[in-house]
């Protein structure tokens, strides 16, 4: 892999500027560079070069001094991130510094950020699903939010284009509510998952239990290696087997010779020229030197994540746009959404004690949406719907066994009993009062205004969650599981790490400029 050109100082003018190098920024960089545009990617964190900078990729637990545990200093640095349950010594360096980059929770909201080249594309869950017209038409049909300007047929060629390059594994099923992607071979369900699938599909018409559709390669693809089933994805994959900007789009952009990526570049604002009547560049702060630099270009593509993109636009004030760039509608920063998270059921499965698996599959099962997909499945309790992720595995907590001593110790060397869980992800409606705003009282390490987040799930999401838990318990009990326990962690938004809204709708709502 060639090194990236990070020498942006000598040249401050480019054809295109891309703000952020996560999933969408990486794609923007690739497309712009391949079209021949000299492109500057501004990344607020350090360079993370594929493989070279995956320092923890081969660590076993005993290679870490505290076997994955964090020191009080590290916990303090991640005092918000840590609520997610995902942060350990193996990935700590890929989660943003919460102390240097504070935000204010008017209501509880977990904002997980990845401040490095590749952003959260290093950390994401890889579940990759197409939308259908059920989704694109929902706003128009139920009146929540404004109508999408496109339909499935408009975006289908782009889905295909992206999937063919990225590599998505899965099984084609022809479900109208979950259109098939261009699939690499699917990963396999284990024996307990197959067993539960059979029982659920037999007893619940219209419900399917499938292997997750994921951006993991199940065969070599475009020069990248296939998944080795280590399940150490979030440390960076030495085989490039899952999709990340670092392994896939940025190297492609780099081979054109048109890419410059500038690390430690915190974009403050997009510069709007009131005379020319257009955006002409961006102003950055160098995170290491505090130097302020302006870069100019014809095209500016802000890909800084849902919240940070809106943050930058709100910060971009001019005579023409006193309330933030493009904010004629007043909706900038509003309609913040996330999927609901950690509502479902878990139970034990008997009868497979002599069965195990080999390999740590970085994927689970998926139950596609089955409510409100047609007249027959219509609910009178809520609009929209939900899907489930989950999986079966041998687990159990040996500390729970009411025993100790020699027999106990020898017993726990064998794998524990089978467990199976499903956890739902419900759609969130766009609400004007779920919003972010600039906070000029709480400043970040560079003296810049931060965000105040004021969002909550409301009645429709709570009704969806209630249904998720009821259905989850019913499905697992019907499938013959034992000790089935429903759960709802009542997580506030943010835990799903699917932030949506805040910026993408503003021009569409009132296109007055």
């Amino acid at each position: 892999m060639a090194n990236f050109n990070i020498d942006a100082k000598k040249d401050v003018t480019y054809d295109a500027i891309v703000v952020g190098s996560g999933i969408s920024g990486g794609w923007a960089a690739k497309e712009l560079c391949e079209k021949g545009l000299k492109t500057l990617v501004l990344e607020r964190g350090p360079i993370v070069e594929h493989v070279v900078d995956y320092k923890t990729m081969h660590w076993d637990p005993w290679d870490m001094e505290y076997r994955g545990g964090l020191t009080p200093e590290e916990k303090k640095k991640h005092y918000k991130n840590i609520r997610s349950g995902w942060v350990g010594k193996d990935t700590e360096h890929f989660w943003a510094d919460d102390e240097a980059n504070p935000y204010t929770e008017e209501k509880p909201f977990l904002w997980l950020r990845g401040h490095q080249m590749g952003g959260k594309s290093l950390l994401w869950g890889k579940q990759t699903y197409r939308w259908s017209d059920l989704d694109f038409e929902a706003n128009a049909k139920d009146g929540h939010g404004v109508d999408w300007p496109i339909r499935y047929k408009d975006i289908e060629p782009w889905y295909t284009y992206v999937e063919k390059f990225a590599g998505i594994s899965g099984e084609a099923l022809g479900l109208p509510q979950l259109p098939d992607s261009h699939f690499l071979p699917p990963m396999e369900l284990n024996c307990v998952e197959k067993h539960v699938k059979e029982r659920i599909e037999k007893n619940f018409e219209g419900r399917n239990l499938i292997i997750g559709r994921v951006a993991h390669l199940t065969q070599p693809h475009n020069g990248r290696g296939q998944c080795q089933y280590r399940n150490r994805c979030s440390r960076g994959c030495p085989y490039g087997a899952y999709f990340s900007s670092n392994a896939v789009t940025l190297p492609a952009a780099n081979t054109t010779g048109n890419l410059t990526i500038r690390p430690y570049s915190i974009v403050q604002e997009v510069i709007y020229d009131d005379v020319k009547g257009k955006a002409t560049g961006v102003r950055i702060i160098d995170a290491e030197t505090n130097e302020v630099i302006e870069y100019s270009s014809k095209i500016i593509f802000v890909n800084a994540s849902a919240l940070s993109t809106a943050h930058i636009l709100m910060n971009s004030k001019s005579k023409r746009f006193e309330n933030g760039l493009g904010n004629d509608s007043g909706e900038l920063g509003h309609n913040l959404m996330d999927h609901t998270y950690r509502v479902g059921a878990i139970g034990k499965v008997d009868g497979f004690e002599d069965k195990y698996y080999k390999g740590r599959r970085p994927n689970g099962i998926y139950i596609p949406r089955y409510v409100n997909i047609d007249e027959k499945s219509k609910s009178d309790k809520f609009v929209r719907g939900f899907g489930f992720q989950g999986g079966g595995y041998r687990g159990g907590n040996p500390a729970n066994e009411e025993s100790f001593g020699a027999d106990f110790k020898d017993g726990i060397l064998k794998p524990g009993g089978w467990e199976f869980f499903i956890t739902g992800f419900a759609e969130c409606l766009p609400y004007h009062d779920n919003k972010i705003s600039l906070n000029h009282e709480v400043l970040d390490k560079w003296g810049q205004p931060t965000l105040t987040i004021d969002a909550e799930f409301k009645e429709n999401e709570k009704a969806l969650n209630k249904q998720i838990q009821e259905d989850a318990v019913e499905m697992l009990q019907t499938a013959g599981l034992k000790d089935v326990m429903g759960f709802d962690k009542e997580h506030p938004p943010g835990y799903g790490v699917h932030e949506m809204g805040t910026a993408e709708w503003v021009e569409i709502r009132k296109p007055r400029f």
């Binding site: 995902w86 195990y356 698996y357 080999k358 020699a406 110790k409």
Partner: protein
């Protein structure tokens, strides 16, 4: 358990490959002597002995290494010293003190100095009374978790220290750092012990 057999095995192991301190600490705990052969970073001598004897009672040496053979006690001391904040450390010390106070009240002396029979009696009672961990989904517990006491927490911590040790992870449990593929339904007999990672 058959302590003589265990000691013999541990002795053989220690002589061959394992470092001496764990062998010695086991030896001493069996004799109910009070001196530690290693210097804890955090625990007092009595606290370290309590943890060591607890680990040895829960995870004794058999044909396979015990908790002390893989230095689970020394690791826990290090973890408490370096990953707990001051409040967490205080809570840990208070919990050990309470545990030993219970032992003293019921059986006449602190836990590490009890006879094997009394240790077993006390831990059986702890097992029956200490709430269990709820199941976890993607790393966090779900459902209404009752507060777990010192015994269950330390048992869990000891098992974690035991399973994540290099000796257990690479040589006793099934170790496969690069599986290369996924075999979705494999006879357990072809794998043997649980996967270490």
């Amino acid at each position: 358990m058959d302590r003589r057999k265990a000691l013999k095995k541990t002795g053989l192991l220690a002589g061959a490959t394992l470092a001496m301190p764990s062998f010695l600490s086991l030896l001493q705990s069996c004799k109910n002597e009070t001196r530690l052969d290693w210097q804890p970073e955090f625990f007092t001598e009595e606290e370290a002995k309590t943890i060591a004897v607890l680990i040895d009672t829960i995870l004794p040496t058999t044909d396979t290494p015990g908790g002390l053979d893989v230095k689970a006690d020394m690791f826990i001391d290090k973890v408490v010293a370096h990953t707990y904040d001051a409040e967490g450390q205080k809570n840990m010390q208070n919990a050990i003190a309470e545990f030993n106070a219970r032992s003293k009240e019921k059986y006449g002396s602190i836990f590490p100095e009890l006879s094997d029979a009394d240790k077993t009696a006390m831990l059986k009672e702890e097992e029956a009374n200490d709430p269990k961990f709820n199941p976890g989904v993607w790393g966090t517990t779900v459902g209404d978790q009752k507060p777990v006491g010192f015994y269950r927490s330390m048992k869990s911590m000891a098992i974690w220290a035991y399973f994540t040790s290099e000796e257990m992870g690479e040589n006793v449990l099934s170790y496969d750092p690069i599986p290369g593929g996924y075999e979705a339904c494999k006879p357990l007999s072809e794998v043997g012990n649980r996967w270490s990672i």
